[in-house]
Symmetry: D2
Subunit: 460 residues, 4 copies
């Protein structure tokens, strides 16, 4: 996954972008970058690592200009290198262009092969570069028209911010898989993956970029375009369940409220007598609070998270290599001892973490452990940007709930049903992509190469 941010017309544009990326850091910790323009030239800086480690006063001073875009990128094994960090910045015949992308193009490999046959030279292994080449090769006159022409060729999910020397363009694909919002900070327009970035910089939230919308911001103001065929929206439901920050306002509600609602529906359907409800922190907290309130069972923070576990933490030598989840989480002895405990998590992927936590709780003397999951079984991989493992590794794609319960050694295990999930999301039209639970993918993709492509090619 990734987070993107853009700002137009602010005297400290790169500083604001830096703050925006800081607020979006949870969307990607592998690399970060900012590109800025003063209307004449473009500067950029990209590095592996966290926003706060990459940027300092000196770097930000060099990123001068009134407009900027930024990007944070998630770590996925194998494709982790600086060349894939964004924003991508190139100089082509029409001037400078920088682009930051959140999503995954499902036909990127097809396009790349075709363009290389015509003589294009790719510098990175990201699908985003395909868009850049399509822009450079387009025969249209304006950047906007070239961008539209390029996007007509690509399939999959994309929320984009594009920066040229004169304008900031924001785009969301026709399904609107990934979020993208518009705000105002005094005289500046700002674009962000999530509203939490607006809160930090004290910008006012205006509205979402609509699925299929292209928003073009320049010194003459803001213009909107809808050049693509209209589709029924398919917002990613996993943003609600796991990915987005609880304080972000997304698709009409705060994420925290949705998680509480999911926990409440879970409590209604899967009641069990117990002494307390404890979440697996941090992503399970919202659902656990909702569960506890609905069930009338005390909420306790029975598992403590060590927030100093960085990416560089090394596992010690063989003989002592069984620490795993304990490096991140520890249970509180006198809280869990002798108790009947409902453990709430947001989702179960491989079930290995849950199994280890249950083992620890039992070691510390828990009497009963009832595992509750505030989403349905995750059975299908995501091809639209969430880094779920391949189908083989998703335990729910090959085991039923009873088998998973046995594996996890919980006393009982229950998932939220798809119906329960729909109830939590309200009475209105159901506008979500839930392919990871249902297997119903909104868009087609080159099926013959699907698995191969999806496992070899870089996702974000």
């Amino acid at each position: 996954m990734c987070g993107i941010f853009g700002i137009f017309n602010h005297k400290n544009a790169s500083n604001i972008a830096y703050l925006g990326l800081h607020a979006l850091q949870h969307r990607g910790q592998e690399s970060a970058g900012i590109a800025s323009t003063d209307g004449y030239g473009m500067q950029s800086h990209r590095e592996m690592g966290l926003v706060s480690d990459i940027f300092n006063e000196e770097v930000l001073k060099r990123l001068k200009g009134h407009s900027a875009i930024g990007h944070v990128r998630y770590s996925t094994a194998g494709s982790s290198n600086l060349g894939n960090a964004q924003p991508l910045v190139v100089e082509y015949s029409k001037g400078n262009i920088a682009i930051a992308h959140n999503g995954n193009l499902t036909n990127a490999k097809v396009i790349k092969d075709e363009l290389e046959n015509y003589g294009s030279i790719f510098q990175s292994s990201t699908d985003t570069e395909a868009i850049i080449h399509l822009i450079a090769l387009s025969h249209e006159n304006t950047t906007l028209d070239r961008l539209i022409s390029a996007l007509r060729r690509v399939e999959g999910s994309y929320s984009l911010v594009v920066l040229t020397d004169k304008e900031l363009i924001a785009v969301r694909d026709s399904y609107g898989f990934r979020p993208l919002v518009l705000g105002k900070l005094k005289d500046s327009f700002v674009i962000s993956s999530e509203t939490c970035a607006f809160d930090l910089i004290e910008a006012r939230y205006l509205r979402e970029i609509k699925p299929g919308e292209i928003l073009c911001i320049n010194k003459d103001g803001i213009k909107t375009f809808r050049p693509f065929k209209k589709m029924s929206p398919k917002f990613c439901i996993f943003e609600y369940i796991y990915f987005a920050r609880p304080d972000s306002y997304m698709f009409g509600r705060t994420v925290y409220s949705v998680r509480k609602a999911l926990g409440k529906e879970l409590a209604k359907d899967t009641h069990v007598d117990a002494d307390m409800v404890i979440p697996i922190p941090d992503s399970g907290i919202g659902a656990a609070i909702g569960y506890a309130q609905e069930a009338g069972i005390p909420f306790e923070l029975g598992l403590i998270r060590n927030h100093y576990v960085g990416r560089t933490f090394i596992e010690p030598e063989e003989s002592i290599r069984h620490f795993g989840v304990k490096l991140k989480l520890n249970a509180i002895h006198d809280i869990v001892k002798g108790k009947r405990i409902i453990v709430v998590d947001d989702s179960v992927v491989r079930a290995t973490t849950g199994r280890k936590i249950i083992k620890m709780l039992r070691q510390y003397g828990a009497k009963e452990i009832h595992f509750r999951v505030s989403s349905p079984p995750t059975m299908f991989p995501c091809f639209y940007g969430i880094d779920t493992p391949s189908r083989r590794e998703l335990i729910a794609s090959s085991h039923n709930v009873e088998e998973i319960n046995t594996y996890m050694t919980s006393d009982t295990l229950e998932y939220l049903t798809i119906d329960g999930m729909k109830r939590a999301l309200g009475n209105g039209e159901y506008t979500y992509c839930d392919a990871c639970f249902s297997g119903t993918y909104p868009s087609k993709f080159p099926w013959d190469m699907e698995l191969e492509q999806m496992e070899l090619f870089v996702k974000r």
Copy 2:
């Protein structure tokens, strides 16, 4: 503050020390170090930064041997440099000695001046080095006797682990200000500031090192000594309130349970009608849960913490320099809007953070804000190792509760009383140092130089 750890007789001693320090990281993020011995020579590695950034496989491999001690150090302005990182390691006439110290020697400057007059050369600005020189200058024969002779000269607080080529020694001052616990990991003895380190390495908790006890561990086993005059214990109450990790078992209970108890007592004494209780994360969570349970008011995680705020985060330029607490915390709009809110924090030092949070909650539409503090007003500086600011900066030392309420702009503000605090700590003997609340310092110190010394000299 600091955290210390020691292990004797383990084939992966430095790896275990590394894990131990990782679990104690919350006690100090400025620097970390490990010294190890194979019985013949001593190796050590110290660096500025976090445990997980400082140590890697290569470094740990170099730290060979069956025994090791480690140290994490807290950042205090001015004295932040590698020369002050610990363990201090020296070679002197009796061989190698390494020492790691948690606490603060109140007469360190007096001793340093005296020793320099006799020709000693100090290399660091830490008070701990005074102990090293006193050991080197002692006429006793064994390291143990030299250490005892040195400690007879120093005043203040100290929990120590000392490593020589042949033994691991653990010491706690006669008041027992700072915690220190003993555990067993198969055939190895382990020493740690807190039990959370034992949980991680799966060591068995045996008992606390007693106030005034010297524990000497070598190949012949473990021996205990009580060479100093017995004092009535004065455990640091601030470890419970703020400093220690919630999952640590300390002075007879887990820290989380104590915090919940403090919150419950607070609820009993300071009742107010409200729609929800929200903590200031992370340290206020335990008390807020206790408060909510006692008061029967729903608990909500209404403030979300950004865990990516590292030490290197820079504030942007002047014109946009008012982000402050928002870099760390954000409130959830639709949860707080129109609501009567009880905000629970563990303590109030300068009141600036609380004031900013209240301002944010009001911006987001909170109707009423009742601020509750699960400890009494912090009115006096700590001279025993907690890095409280000087008296001038402690708002409660110069303002009463009403004035602080006005400053913070809360609707109401209430602190836990000292009585409430004592009730929460149980019916037994009251064995705590509460000087930061009461002004009653257990030990004397060179008064004539007190203020000067305390503000100029390095604390940890």
Copy 3:
């Protein structure tokens, strides 16, 4: 300037390339790089700095494979950045290709503008990248034919080594401006800018790559092609005079021997009575020895060079900023005092260094100073790869010898004549480019943009 190296079919290809670059370090100290292939994939490593600082065992181990090419690049102000380091490595429709270039394409900007109009995206500011794009855009089938098609489009000077997964190709432009030699190391073929690299790796010198020759080496052996119109050769005479290493065998003789011959001819034409001949080290040593032998005047190393002057040496603050040449050179007091001295240098560019040396020699008591230059006045800029300053800065383009003598404060100043230079180069056909002395440029270039282009665009 730059140095290039290639090796095909050696189990330690990147190690050999590393040694080769080390021997060619004098041709460029700004950056260095190696690309290698095992026949399937390509690895590369490029960095700013010296060969010995950039490569270590770990890096070389990563550069696996049986074939490799390498490049060292000279520092030219403004264009000094990693993006311009070579070898350039790209993946295009036909697979991987790496290219290392010594020379300067005079029509690179024209080509770049044209290709960008067609949609190509340039990543660097080097002229070499134009060749890469022309290869990628070619409709020919094999890399060789694509390379030929690309080279038909470019003008200027180029010695190239090109590496694909299956072959190593060496090319020299039709004039043969820059050197390029072929050698054999057991079963491996090696290519190098100079023979000094062969001496180090103990390869056997076979012959020069001929002007206009394309040499293609693969597992089936070595094949030669001459696809371009034959021109009369124009070897760069400045390689002899200043640039190449004295121990290299080039265009039929060792550079040292040529320099001695130039010095001898200089002595014949510009006799003066003196007590000693001293060179400006290191480049003037060969000519000074020749001069001294011919004139029968003792040779002395009267100027000592400090070899620790690196690229990072900083000039101290304003008030003491007049050290200049003294950081590099110092004279020997009792050798020069009261003596009549002939100072020999290989060439005079701005005359500032010579002026400072003469001032120092007079300070140390020299009685007479006769400055002798073993090449004609440098009056014209080089457009074929030597980093001479622009014409405005070449003192000889605007001042006659008498004026330069006055500026330098020498008692007498004499240059070698073009005739003398031709005599030193022997009786055979005169096959050299001496445009820097004569202004006679062998090739045409886009004159309308000449000055602008040459001063803005990157040279190497």
Copy 4:
């Protein structure tokens, strides 16, 4: 070996020290450091590496004040670490003191053992630290008296510069083994190991610090003291032969002139018919020029040195690990082919380098090779600061000239005789330490531990 420098009363003291160290870089490439004072506090900076890599504008700006001392240290295996870099800087009861030392204390271990028994704690493994501790422990009142008292205890060789907040002190041991000179730069006094540093900063050479002299410079001027028993001087003859820079004026002559004189005497005694004389660069150049002039045989620079061989150069893998001397030196084919060659070197230590050079010259076709050494056989280790290998590794301590000739595969091999060396040094009193040739050590040292000490303890 090491080089030392000091300056008193200059507004850019640390900048001047930086330039001075740059000129002394040949005396030590392992580490460098500068300490400076503004009369109140002391700043210092030490690092591993070359002067030009260690210091930059920012670092020099931090080293503020009107006075400074600096040190460069030579690399000796095993003791290479930052803790041993100088100047040593400590704060003790009398204030700040910094010290930089060139030489070797022969009784350092004895003193260290004794001081540790009294409780002193040593931080480094350098002998210099013993002086610091003796100063700190002295009961005298002034730094000068404490220093004198300390120096009465030490034996061996030392040239020192000592900096306090108020004064700069320069000391040379009673034999004057190592050089030390005094100069004047406008209103500032400067101290340096060699005069080449004065030439760079354009200071005026005043005189040598005399053997046994203590020079104390403060705001009241310069005072000289001779507190030690007068000894007949024993200047290190190896400074002339190999170590010092040719342009330095030392013990009454320039080093270059002495080397030429040594070469001339060598020519007189060891005549052989030959076509040319070539030096092993750089240290053999002076003697080779003298030899060639005396013998009337042409001088040629037949061996070219690659000056880019840094300390970080790595030898490639096993299979190709026989490059050795070729990484540094290459011969010129057409110069040496078919010729009778006299090769001149300044000294022979292990004879391995000479052997490899002879092998290369024969490969390139040399007809006869006559090896000539401009010093007598090096048979004894130096205990006064020159890093000669232990006696076992000195080929001349166990083999006679004929055997060495056989090993080196030269046609003939001849050394300068001790008599020849004395003739070259002139008719005056012979005031040199030639223990490395004669075995006559001027001072006694603790014989019982001699070998052990000398091989285990750190030399410089």
